[in-house]
């Protein structure tokens, strides 16, 4: 049985947050569904419809208590909120929207956002207040917290009463900004009360005269970020009603609800008003009037009951933490207590939904972040491992390392030319060959007497060998991580640890997802294969020449087509064929060269170089018949003899130079060549279309001898195998 994902999503949207946090472990797909912004919104809309997913949050000195609106017969303490650590400093709720609580520590400016369902929280940055205002006592400042649908953002508003400055915090940008100042329009002292009740996309406060007589509602539009006025019912504001005193502003069934003490009657009573259509003065309706015995108290309406015929009230100060259900139809009231609550003072109750809304807005989905990271240089990635645990795990994952590698191969600016000198390695970015940078710290640096050479390169890994020694290393020049490979245990027939002339090659075996190094001992024809995964050498079938006239191998094990390639040459350097080592099957096979290069009628062709050009095997030969021209061939389809194509013929100066084709230019119309004679070396761009060449030097390079240039990608591939290990020191 397989339930379609949209049905599963529908089911999940009905679940409590606690269940969802558990079910994120079910599978990657389910986890991604639950974390998606679409699902968070869907779940929120369902929570709004579901009465049992609302809680009453009550603040006490000892912590926060929460009681389910559906079952007020028990209160549960919310033990772990972020401000728990300082019990002597009380926190208060300064706003609540879509399951997020805005909290402030009393007598301090620390403001937090907390989702009590997911228990995630965030400390907000401080407001940078201009010097003109010195009074930063936030306790008298009105706050309000709400959701702005136009930008899909949560905003916290703070009005600084002393300076009339208004600041808006945006969760998306995690920053405060100052907006237009608040203006009183009144000459007499006033205050803003009502806690920024969120209705109609605006935060609402009641503007009061010094004697608590309500004047009007000041609202802050979260979209346009400005203040506007919402009128009160005439009954309340006209001259005759001067004995009306503000008691409370709240949200009842999505409507703004105002409670006032009416002292015009013989018996004082509370009038509860509801503005049925936000902003429409005529829609103010008196919901009910209610008499409550302690005259000096005030009354707060909290919520409708599930069926809507009762209103939950909290009269304060209450002697015994009383709550009260007022029945609208029967006009009766029923007092009760929520068991489990301490008897200390506590502030206003807040109704809070269950939601997955995160106080850390994940601005960009993880797959987009992955995409961005895959485009970055290795140095940036190594730095950004510190961003978070999730990002660190992402960057270290084998999947990401492969994705990043494939991007590096596509990105010209992420390949470097590695050049070896006695004094060390130099690296020049293929994109900007006008400067070479010394790679200072490579592992073999400490023995300057024995220079090292590159014996292989694959996917950002370099294989290095110290001259006249058997020490072989793998180095990733981008991450600067390295590993000394174990020694080959030679058979007794060959001498242990005596430098032996060997051919090396480094390649990647996709079938086992493993990097392999091949070493052919030329004197004994023994072949050894090193696997990075097992970190060990094994001996495979001995090497045998495909042609009896072969006397040596040339070409440095160029890695193309899942195989390492060498050219078998005669004693006079005439090429015979390509011998290749299949990294998957770990055996040798022959790859033909073009007839023009090998046939007996062309005895004046001498092998010059084997390299990889645009992913294809490329052979450069010197053609003595043709006035010393060099022919560069490309095997467009690996292993297909007919696909050999002569890319260009080139006559360099000086004529005796040794030529190597290194790489295509970024747009592919030029080939980078290196020309070398015993006295001098230089580089050259050969334009394939115009058939012209442009010689140049890379500045900053020493003048001494150096060996073959190697093209190396930036990559995160570890020389310690697939498991990212912490650096081994010493």
């Amino acid at each position: 049985m397989s339930i379609p994902l949209d049905v599963i999503t529908e089911i999940l949207s009905l679940l409590p947050v606690k269940s969802l946090l558990r079910f994120r472990c079910v599978s990657k797909q389910l986890c991604a569904s639950i974390d998606s912004p679409e699902f968070v919104k869907l779940h929120l809309s369902r929570s709004k419809e579901t009465y049992s997913k609302s809680s009453l949050i009550l603040e006490l000195c000892s912590g926060f208590f929460s009681a389910n609106l559906d079952s007020l017969d028990i209160a549960v303490q919310l033990l772990d909120h972020p401000l728990d650590g300082y019990p002597e400093k009380t926190v208060e709720v300064i706003g609540c929207c879509n399951g997020l609580l805005a909290l402030k520590r009393y007598w301090r400016n620390e403001v937090y956002l907390l989702n009590p369902s997911t228990k995630k929280h965030r400390l907000l940055p401080d407001i940078v207040i201009d010097s003109e205002s010195h009074n930063n006592n936030s306790n008298i400042d009105p706050f309000g917290f709400g959701y702005d649908a136009s930008t899909d953002d949560y905003k916290l508003v703070r009005i600084i009463m002393s300076s009339k400055q208004v600041f808006v915090y945006s969760l998306k940008t995690n920053s405060w900004k100052r907006v237009q100042d608040f203006s009183y329009h009144d000459s007499f002292p006033i205050s803003l009360q009502g806690g920024g009740a969120l209705v109609g996309g605006a935060l609402n406060w009641v503007k009061l005269k010094w004697d608590c007589h309500p004047l009007l509602i000041t609202a802050f539009d979260l979209k346009n970020e400005n203040c506007f006025v919402v009128p009160l019912p005439d009954d309340m504001t006209n001259e005759k009603s001067s004995f009306t005193y503000f008691s409370n502003l709240s949200v009842l069934g999505g409507c703004l609800s105002l409670t006032c003490v009416n002292r015009t009657n013989i018996n004082d009573c509370y009038d509860v008003w509801v503005m049925k259509e936000y902003g429409i003065k005529e829609s103010w309706t008196k919901l009910f009037s209610f008499s409550w015995s302690p005259k000096e108290s005030n009354l707060k309406t909290i919520a409708y009951s599930k069926c809507g015929n009762k209103v939950l009230l909290r009269p304060a100060p209450a002697k015994n933490s009383h709550f009260c259900w007022y029945n609208l139809k029967e006009q009766t009231s029923h007092e009760f207590q929520i068991p489990g609550l301490p008897l200390h003072f506590w502030s206003k109750p807040t109704v809070c939904l269950e939601s997955l809304v995160s106080p850390h807005e994940m601005l960009i989905p993880l797959d987009v972040i992955t995409e961005i990271l895959s485009l970055l240089p290795v140095k940036s990635l190594l730095r950004f491992r510190c961003v978070s645990k999730q990002i660190c795990a992402l960057i270290d994952s084998p999947e990401f390392i492969k994705l990043h590698l494939s991007r590096s191969k596509e990105t010209y600016s992420k390949s470097s030319l590695i050049l070896e000198f006695y004094s060390g390695f130099f690296s020049a970015n293929m994109d900007s060959l006008d400067i070479a940078v010394q790679l200072l710290d490579h592992p073999l640096d400490s023995y300057p007497k024995n220079p090292i050479k590159v014996i292989g390169s694959c996917n950002g890994l370099l294989a290095l060998q110290r001259h006249w020694r058997n020490e072989v290393y793998l180095l990733n020049p981008s991450t600067k991580k390295h590993q000394l490979l174990p020694n080959i245990v030679f058979d007794s027939e060959s001498h242990y640890n005596i430098p032996v002339i060997s051919q090396f090659g480094l390649g990647y075996d996709a079938s086992t997802d493993d990097y392999k190094m091949v070493r052919i001992i030329m004197s004994t024809k023994q072949v050894f294969v090193y696997s990075l995964e097992t970190n060990s050498w094994k001996r495979v079938q001995d090497f045998s020449h495909h042609s009896s006239s072969t006397i040596r191998l040339r070409g440095g094990g160029a890695f193309v087509g899942g195989a390492l390639n060498w050219v078998e040459v005669k004693s006079d350097c005439r090429p015979l064929l390509i011998t290749a080592f299949d990294l998957k099957h770990e055996n040798f096979f022959a790859v033909p060269l073009p007839d023009e290069v090998t046939n007996e009628e062309s005895p004046f062709t001498y092998f010059n170089n084997l390299s990889v050009l645009g992913g294809c095997l490329s052979v450069t030969c010197r053609n003595m018949r043709n006035k010393g021209y060099y022919d560069t061939w490309v095997m467009k389809e690996y292993g297909i003899k007919e696909s050999w194509t002569k890319l260009f013929s080139f006559s360099p100066s000086p004529k005796e130079a040794y030529l190597k084709a290194i790489a295509y230019s970024e747009c592919g119309n030029k080939v980078l060549l290196r020309l070398e004679t015993p006295d001098v070396y230089h580089f050259c761009w050969y334009d394939l279309k115009e058939q012209t060449s442009h010689e140049f030097q890379i500045p900053g390079l020493p003048q001494h001898f150096w060996s073959e240039p190697t093209v190396c990608f930036e990559s995160l591939v570890s020389p310690h195998g697939n498991i990212y290990q912490t650096e081994e020191r010493g």
Partner: protein, 175 residues
């Protein structure tokens, strides 16, 4: 850019129009071929293909605000026109560069979210490129803020990570 909606209506008056409804409830009229570039709109139009009158269709896009949509629509429209012609990649790149050059970090994030939700992959690729370029020389703190990621390392854990490759923290741009 501001006048493009009016000029476009005369250039392709025969083109059928579709109404897109943004997260903040605004209705935006766009050519049908532009609307089809947005995956949710494409799906919606396919599901409601029996509706005879396209003019009557209102496609809800509850995750994109009108402000972001009104930046996306002219981009997609011009991009479509460009790719219809046998133009060089260079021209498209120049157009993309021009579109992204002056985007603020916040706007970049908003557009990226929208392009991801709407499945406009060619734009997402461009925005990812621009973002990668912007953050590659930045500090860890900058990237946390840019990507909206909370640091969940303890100071000790973070110090250990930093000690693994101190060279990666050299030469970082000022935030």
């Amino acid at each position: 850019m501001a006048s493009s909606s009016s000029s476009s209506s005369c250039s392709s008056s025969s083109e059928k129009k579709i109404t897109l409804k943004s997260s903040d409830g605004e209705a935006l009229n766009v050519e049908k071929n532009v609307a089809l570039e947005f995956e949710p709109a494409k799906g919606f139009l396919e599901d409601n293909s029996e509706e005879a009158d396209d003019e009557a269709i209102v496609v809800p896009l509850p995750n994109v605000s009108a402000a972001v949509l009104s930046e996306l629509i002219p981009y997609v429209k011009q991009r479509l026109e460009l790719s219809a012609k046998p133009v060089q990649k260079k021209l498209i790149k120049a157009f993309d560069d021009q579109f992204t050059r002056h985007l603020s970090d916040d706007k970049l994030g908003e557009l990226m979210l929208a392009a991801n939700y709407l499945g406009v992959n060619y734009l997402l690729d461009v925005l990812c490129d621009v973002t990668a370029d912007r953050i590659k020389n930045k500090s860890v703190e900058y990237v946390r803020e840019f990507l909206g990621i909370q640091n969940d390392f303890t100071p000790e854990e973070e110090a250990e990570l930093r000690a693994q490759c101190p060279w990666a923290f050299e030469g970082v741009d000022q935030d």
